[in-house]
């Protein structure tokens, strides 16, 4: 029973971890898109605005 509980906790933590990485990636890409629409690119050498 304890083993099953432990595995469930591990799976929940892993799912939360994947969700967190997904949110970081999506937030970064949204930020990069927004900075171009506002005309204020932060790192134009690496992430330029493509017209």
């Amino acid at each position: 029973m304890n083993d099953r509980f432990g595995t469930t906790v591990e799976l929940v933590v892993f799912a939360a971890f994947i969700a967190a990485v997904f949110i970081v990636v999506m937030t970064s890409l949204t930020f990069l898109s927004n900075q171009c629409s506002q005309g204020t690119p932060v790192l134009p050498a690496i992430f330029p605005c493509f017209q």
Binding site: E10, F14, V21, V25, S28, L29, L32, I46, F50, Q51
Partner: protein
């Protein structure tokens, strides 16, 4: 947008012409290999990272580390198929922030590998018993590795949604 000199050069290569001529077969075949490569990479390196982070205690870390050459094989397959994708449609990757972010995560993952094998982190792990707690430094490296490869996977899937608003 005007076509840059490097892109004109890539489009003049025999590899580009080959990919575009046989695209209905080359592209799906390479996509399939790319997915297999990433599955093998994450299935081995990711498993190793999870073990270092504390999952599946009882399995010696050294035993799981024997799978790493498979992960390297998957990585090589992905680099080769990735080159084919880039040469086939360079504009769709170069002018794409999801691709640039993916490349950035791959660079960090590469530096992380150097930190793991270039320092004493790996040597410390090899000497640990099956139930011993890995040192914090190894856990940080494993956590970074897992995060970077998952981020690379996500960015790869998101490439389609961040294509440039033009085709050359």
């Amino acid at each position: 947008m005007e076509m840059a000199a490097w892109e004109t050069f890539i489009r003049s290569t025999a590899l580009h012409v080959f990919i575009r001529t046989y695209e209905p077969w080359v592209w799906p075949a390479c996509e399939t290999l790319h997915y297999l490569g990433l599955s093998i990479l994450l299935g081995t390196v990711g498993l190793f990272d999870l073990r270092v982070l504390g999952l599946a205690k009882g399995i010696p870390i050294e035993s799981i580390h024997r799978l790493i050459p498979w992960g390297i094989g998957g990585y090589v397959v992905n680099i080769l198929t990735g080159i084919i994708f880039f040469v086939g449609h360079p504009d769709q990757y170069f002018y794409n922030n999801a691709f640039r972010l993916k490349a950035l995560f791959m660079v960090v993952a590469g530096l992380n590998v150097l930190a793991f094998y270039g320092t004493s982190a790996f040597r410390e792990l090899k000497t640990l018993g099956p139930d011993a707690e890995p040192p914090l430094r190894a856990k940080v490296i494993a956590g970074t590795s897992l995060s970077m490869w998952v981020a690379v996977l996500i960015c790869g899937r998101l490439l389609t949604f961040y294509r440039p608003p033009f085709f050359h």
